[in-house]
Symmetry: C2
Subunit: 299 residues, 2 copies
């Protein structure tokens, strides 16, 4: 009866990069182990960015390499802000990456210091250079932007997707970067996107800034999203999106969907224990759900 | 396009009764004034209970009397745990009360120390004695009970409603006392209740214990609920429901529904300011969303 969809864990990237203190690779892998043991099958394990920009992710190759070795059967991928990041991801053996471009021109400038033309040219370069690599597109600020406000109409998003589609992208991740979306908007946007690109895969990446993380995620699933992203413990944020706070918590999503009878494949007790263990590990390094630390790309 | 429904503020009862320190009647009325100024039209203003059991509500007659004088056009009502409370409510001039009975026999015993038979006999007595009084029924633990677990089937609830209906009740308020409900269950239960009692009015009273306050409330509205209860600032709790925490926050509900295009009649900026003013007022007297203080009936 229910729609099929995947819960996609992005905490090892979007969560960890918001920690104030460096978390050793062993600790990161311990959290990833707990996620895998809970039944998580789709995971963004790190981000290949400049270690100067994000010192927290300086162990990207080590973490991704260990994950590939430990979990060859899982769907593992990394965020790459540019061609160089994609190169590193391929070198370590990843078959899938996600590139970020903001729908909002001003946010794209603030986040990765590029125009749309520059961003799509980089995306094209990645696709051309690595034809075997699955390149997904994170559409940051898909529902609204801290600088430009909420998007009421879906047309700018559809036009943006066209550019990604023309580059060869087949998986789009609609990110509510600041948490401006509402369930009605999520449904409208998802239905329009699906209808315009029936052959594409759509995921959502919902921040919980205004408490609508769960309700927006459910709205997305019921409007046909193929995947919903979340972070263990609700970690997350965006340094270039004033007011952005944590992501939707994976354990909250699992509880809701399991209780509704969906087959998430994830054990709630195990993932709740994983979230608690994570919190114990990072205590003091993560101060709530509203962090704006460092300079790193978000989605 | 959207369903019509009312946002029903129950903070002056369910919120305030969870404060550790006595809040003077003038402060209570200041919060109520701010709620009314924000556009709130339906309000549970107090509870007529023994001042020994709940010292916080010892000013019930004063608060209710002042509300009736100030806001004759609003839908004002009070919670009454028994016949004596109903008597006091009528004396002060209220035309509407809500009586509480738990679907769970064990919770009813813990909450108001009565069997179902005793509770329904009391309800019948109130109806018989005050034929002009509108008596609503708060069905506590309608979705699940801290002692008996979650209710998967709706049959016990429907049988319970029958007893209320036979007493003359036409408004039922389904309370997720501990926050065990999920959106699928809320839809199923609401649809079944509406189908069985098409002439009745249904409201829900959702606690946010597991973060599903908004998603469950939206599910209820979309399944045809006539009213949704919430508390300014998300105050609330239940001393006889282990694990119960605050209600869904009115300002969160208003934001979500306004953003979705519903006509709530409530101004978000004003109600957010009201919530902040309330928090400033009670600082130190309310420690988060997980209070189990005193001995007072909940729903």
């Amino acid at each position: 009866m229910e729609q099929k969809f995947d819960i996609v864990e992005v905490g090892p990237r979007d969560g960890f990069q918001n920690l104030k203190e460096y978390m050793p690779a062993e600790q990161k892998l311990a959290v990833i182990d707990a996620l895998a043991a809970s039944g998580v099958r789709h995971m963004q394990v790190t981000s290949f960015v400049s270690p100067k920009a994000i010192p927290q992710m300086r162990d990207a190759a080590q973490v991704a390499g260990a994950c590939l070795e430990r979990y060859p059967g899982l769907d593992l991928f990394a965020l790459v802000p540019n061609f160089r990041g994609a190169q590193s991801a391929v070198e370590v053996g990843l078959h899938k990456v996600t590139n970020v471009i903001s729908l909002s021109v001003s946010h794209n400038k603030a986040n990765i210091n590029r125009t749309h033309d520059e961003s799509f040219a980089e995306l094209q370069k990645i696709k051309d250079q690595f034809p075997e690599l699955e390149v997904c597109l994170d559409v940051a600020t898909a529902f609204g932007c801290p600088f430009e406000g909420k998007y009421r109409g879906v047309e700018p998003l559809l036009a943006f997707l066209k550019r990604g589609w023309d580059c060869g992208v087949r998986t789009f991740n609609l990110c509510d970067t600041v948490g401006l979306a509402d369930p009605g908007q999520v449904r409208r946007f998802l239905l329009a996107c699906r209808s315009e690109y029936p052959a594409a895969r759509f995921e959502v990446h919902i921040h919980d800034t205004r408490g609508m993380g769960l309700v927006n995620t459910l709205a997305a699933v019921e409007a046909g999203a193929d995947g919903v992203q979340s972070t263990l413990g609700g970690l997350g944020g965006c340094p270039f999106a004033p007011g952005a706070s944590g992501n939707t918590a994976t354990e909250d999503l699992v509880l809701m969907f399991n209780e509704m009878g969906y087959d998430t494949g994830i054990d709630f007790d195990k993932i709740l224990a994983a979230a608690k263990a994570e919190f114990a590990m990072i205590e003091g390094s993560f101060s709530g759900h509203n962090l704006h630390v460092g300079k790193r790309p978000c989605c």
